[in-house]
Structures are given as structure tokens and as C-alpha cells.
Amino acid sequence: MEVNNYKNKLSLDKNKTLIVKELVHNHERGGARPAIVMKNVSKTYKSNSTPAIMNISFRVERGEFVFIVGPSGSGKSTILRLLMKEIEPSQGGIYVDGKDTTKLKRHQIPYLRRKLGVVFQDFRLLKNRNVFDNVAFAQRVIGADTKTIKRRVPSVLSIVGILEKHQKFPRQLSGGEQQRVALARAIVNDPMILLCDEPTGNLDPKNSWEIMALLDEINQKGTTVIVVTHNMDIVNAMHKRVITINKGVLISDQKEGGYRDE
């Protein structure tokens, strides 16, 4: 409908056709749709009567870099698990790329997850596959052909700086290297949003900074990045948007915020 309106408003001379094409392109890619919207989301686990999160609402625009911070058990990881649709909210609405994920049917969930790249604290690599295969695996999942995989995987491994170790198995790599592989796997399908759950939690400061620099670089190229962490040094040094959660409640949302241990 919006596209037709655009066409009606503009006379179709050559230059204007290009403008329409761009508008259509933007429209089809989601246009101004926010990457993530959480509306009054609460989650109570069956094993615990106290809600893990209560009435959380926030909106993340495309291309934003957001830290979600808070002490252990504050509900940060619950937010990520809800975004991945690993768990269902007890109430509220969650929208990813404009779609209400709470209404997705079971067979639609994989396609939501393909819009999300995920990096975990414990890397979660397939132990019996080498670096190349771990990253190629994510491409296989979306049905990419071997030719594409052979072209794309080395390029991504090169971005995260681990190309020379493509034949090594996870057990042969350091923590920092494993996290680079996990990052390569997360971005190989060019996701719209990159979700990182404590990505530096198992890393020394040097590797932590390197991973954060990579995340920043990926964000600069247009990917929305959400990082759940309680690493104060990193959050305070990067001057990004910071959403602070405490005891399941959103207590602050600062554009270029910081994080203090309270």
C-alpha cells in the first residue's frame, strides 16, 4: 500500500524512478521498522514464583549498539532468551523486525532465528567439527550451496582474524579464538540483529577488548548489536546506549550511558 502511494506521488521520469526503486527497496527491507520492540514484557519461570522480569519495555532501532547490564540474576539473559524465542513471555509483546514473535507458529521459529546471530559466553561450538565446518554449518542451516559456503566462510573467518586456524577443532583453540569462531558463525548469514550473551565472560581483558572491537566493527557495517554483560570497564569505555536491569525491572535506559556497581 505504502509503495503504491509512493508511486502515485511521484511522476515516473527516469530520476524519480530511481528514487521509487530505493523507496521500494527500503520498504521491502523493513524501512523504518525498529529492529526490536518489547512491550510490557514479564516472565515468571515455573520453578520460581518471583518474576524474572517485570513490565520491561524498550525499543531498539536498526543499526543501534545496545548494552543490557545488571547484576547476576537480574533478568538480562531472560531478555535474550525471550528475543530468541527460546522461552515464551508470561505477558506482553515482543516484536522483531516488526513481527510479533509471540504469535509465531513452531515451524516459523527457525526463520526468526535466522535474522538473529547469537554469541554465547560458553561459545557453544560443535566439538566434533573444525573451525571451518562450525561456521559453514550455519550456512548449511539456511540451505546455502557449497560454492557459496566456500566463498563466504573464509571471508568471515578473515574478518574475525581466525582464517589461518580454519582446520583446528575447538579443543585446539584458546577461549578468545573460540569466541571469534562463535562470532564468525553468528555473522556468516548476515543477520539483522546480533545478540551476545556475556561474550567476554570467559575471556581475559586483551581478548575481551578484541572481541568488543569486532562487535563495534560489525555494528558500523549496519548490524544491530545487543550485548548482555556486567563488564563495567567495557560498557563505560564504549559510550553506547545502556539499558540497566535490576531485580527484573528496567531501571534506566541511557543513550550514551555507563554502568556502576551498586
Binding site: E86, P110, R113, R114, L116, V118, L126, R140, V141, T146
Partner: protein, 304 residues
């Protein structure tokens, strides 16, 4: 190639690789499948042979029909026509009085010429020409006897009701017992395979979780496990077939050589005839159990 065929080829490759990667689990599954299908193969051979022997015995169950004294040849032929027209009749052969006496001499007097000489040229069985009838379906003997007795010109019908009934009930019992045992064997196989597959999948639960979180569809996750299950099922069915084939040939040869006295009754089926059915049957069962075992077991682990 589209993404479906990419995924399909990938799944087949992964299924094969997975057998290699999880060699212990694969060997355990193949072993379980082999044990089940080995028992199934042996049992199948026993059952089909029993059925074959019983069927063979049934064809030897005959009815003898004697005629009224002084009956004409045309009347005898007419009775024969009526009997042959019945569906349950396999064969109906006329035995003349002379043939009957010759057979009697051979059966009872043998070389005892002294006894035979007392009869001279007389035929004591002069009024005993007969029809010898064999049935295609022994269960219908009673019905047939009643029909023949009702025919004009028939004096006497000899039949062994107890043998016919015994064979019929034995055959029925055999089909019930074999059906029940085969069902139990199938059930045990499915349970054992499912348990083994379950063990293998528990080990790979983390892997399945990762696959789900990076956007793999249920088909993508399940397909390699199913390929793996089917290959294991196929290997597990082919190996015992070979063993059962060799064993069958040896056991049959042994029984025939040791029990020559029973050679008229113990007629075994040819191994080739049995395996013409048993090979595809076992392979189908192996594939089926491998498929079902993997399909349902993986399903439980897909809810991530």
C-alpha cells in the same frame, strides 16, 4: 540446486559421517538390530518350514471311496466327474480292483510267496475298486465326505477325520503363536533401538540445542539422525541374514542326514525360496525400525 536438495544431500552425508563420529553408539545399535533380526530370521525359517511341512502332510491326507456292488463303469465315471468338480479337491484318481490287490500284496505279503499262492488267480478285492481323493484344503474334508456319501452308487467313504482336524488345529495354533512371537520380537527390537538411539541423542543434545538456536528447522536436525538410523537398520539386517543363511543350510543338511527315517515327512523348504522373502522383509524391518526409532526419539529432543 535449491535449498531443499542442498539440505537433503547434506543430511545424507552428515548421517553417514555421524555413524563414523559416534562409532560406539553406532556399533551398539547395529549389534542390537543384528540380535533382534537374527532371532527374527531364525524364527521365520522355523515357522515357514513348519507351515510347509504341515501343508505337505495335508496333501497326503486322502479319502478313499468304494462303490456299490455291480456298479457300471459309466456310473463310476459320473461319480468321478462330480468329485473333481469340487473346489476343495486337489486330485481324484481311480484305483481298479486289480491295482488295489497288487498294492495290497506289496504292502502286506511282500516276498511271502506261500501265502500268495493260496489265492491263486482270485482277487479278493474284486468289489473294491475305488477313488483316491486328495484335498487342496484339508479343513473342508468333513463337508466333502458328507457330499460324497450322498452320491448314488457310493457304498463307503474312508477318511481320517482326526488327522485332518489335528493338522487344521495345529496350523491355526502355529499361525497364532508365530504371529504373537513375531509381534513380541518387533516390539523388543523397537524398544532396544529406541533406547540405544536415545542414548546416542542424549550425548548430542547440546548439538541439537545449538542447531535450533542458529535457526535449523526440525527437518534439518532430524534428517541426519533418520539417515543414520536407517543405515544402521540396513547394516543390522543384512549381517544376520548372511549368518542365518549359512546356518539354515547346515542345520537342514544335518537333520536330513541324521533323521533319514523321517525323510517322507520332514520336507524342508529350499534356502533360496525362504530368503527370497526373508531378505527384503528383514531389510524393510531394519529400515523401518531404524526410521521409526530415530524419528520418534529425536522428536522428544526438538523442543528447544
Amino acid at each position: 540446486m535449491n535449498s531443499f536438495s542442498n539440505n537433503l544431500f547434506y543430511s545424507i552425508k552428515q548421517g553417514i559421517l555421524s555413524i563414523k563420529r559416534n562409532s560406539r553408539f553406532s556399533l551398539a545399535s547395529i549389534g542390537t538390530m543384528m540380535a533382534s533380526l537374527f532371532l527374527f530370521g531364525i524364527f521365520y525359517c522355523v515357522v515357514v518350514n513348519f507351515t510347509y511341512i504341515v501343508k505337505n502332510a495335508e496333501t497326503n491326507v486322502g479319502i478313499t471311496i468304494f462303490f456299490d456292488a455291480g456298479i457300471s463303469k459309466a456310473k463310476i465315471d459320473d461319480i468321478g466327474e462330480k468329485i473333481r468338480a469340487r473346489d476343495e479337491v486337489e486330485s481324484c484318481t481311480f484305483i481298479s480292483a486289480d491295482e488295489a490287490w497288487e498294492q495290497f500284496q506289496t504292502d502286506y505279503f511282500g516276498r511271502d510267496k506261500d501265502v500268495l499262492e493260496t489265492f491263486g488267480n482270485d482277487n479278493p478285492l474284486e468289489e473294491s475298486s475305488s477313488y483316491e481323493v486328495f484335498l487342496a484344503d484339508v479343513t473342508k474334508q468333513k463337508e466333502l465326505v458328507a457330499y460324497i456319501e450322498s452320491l448314488d452308487g457310493v457304498r463307503q467313504v474312508n477318511s481320517s477325520e482326526s488327522i485332518a482336524e489335528g493338522l487344521t488345529s495345529f496350523n491355526r495354533l502355529l499361525s497364532y503363536v508365530s504371529g504373537a512371537i513375531m509381534l513380541i520380537l518387533m516390539g523388543v527390537s523397537v524398544f532396544l533401538i529406541s533406547t540405544t538411539v536415545n542414548m546416542g541423542i542424549s550425548v548430542r543434545r547440546e548439538e541439537i540445542g545449538i542447531m535450533k538456536l542458529i535457526g535449523a528447522t526440525d527437518f534439518f536436525i532430524r534428517a541426519p539422525f533418520i539417515v543414520e538410523g536407517m543405515i544402521i537398520g540396513l547394516i543390522g539386517s543384512v549381517l544376520p541374514l548372511g549368518i542365518v543363511f549359512i546356518m539354515y543350510k547346515k542345520v537342514v543338511a544335518y537333520i536330513i542326514s541324521k533323521f533319514t527315517i523321517l525323510s517322507d515327512y520332514l520336507v524342508f523348504m529350499k534356502a533360496e525360496d525362504i530368503f527370497l522373502v526373508l531378505v527384503p522383509l528383514s531389510m524393510l524391518i531394519g529400515l523401518g525400525i531404524g526410521f521409526a526409532g530415530s524419528f520418534f526419539t529425536v522428536k522428544k529432543h526438538l523442543k528447544v
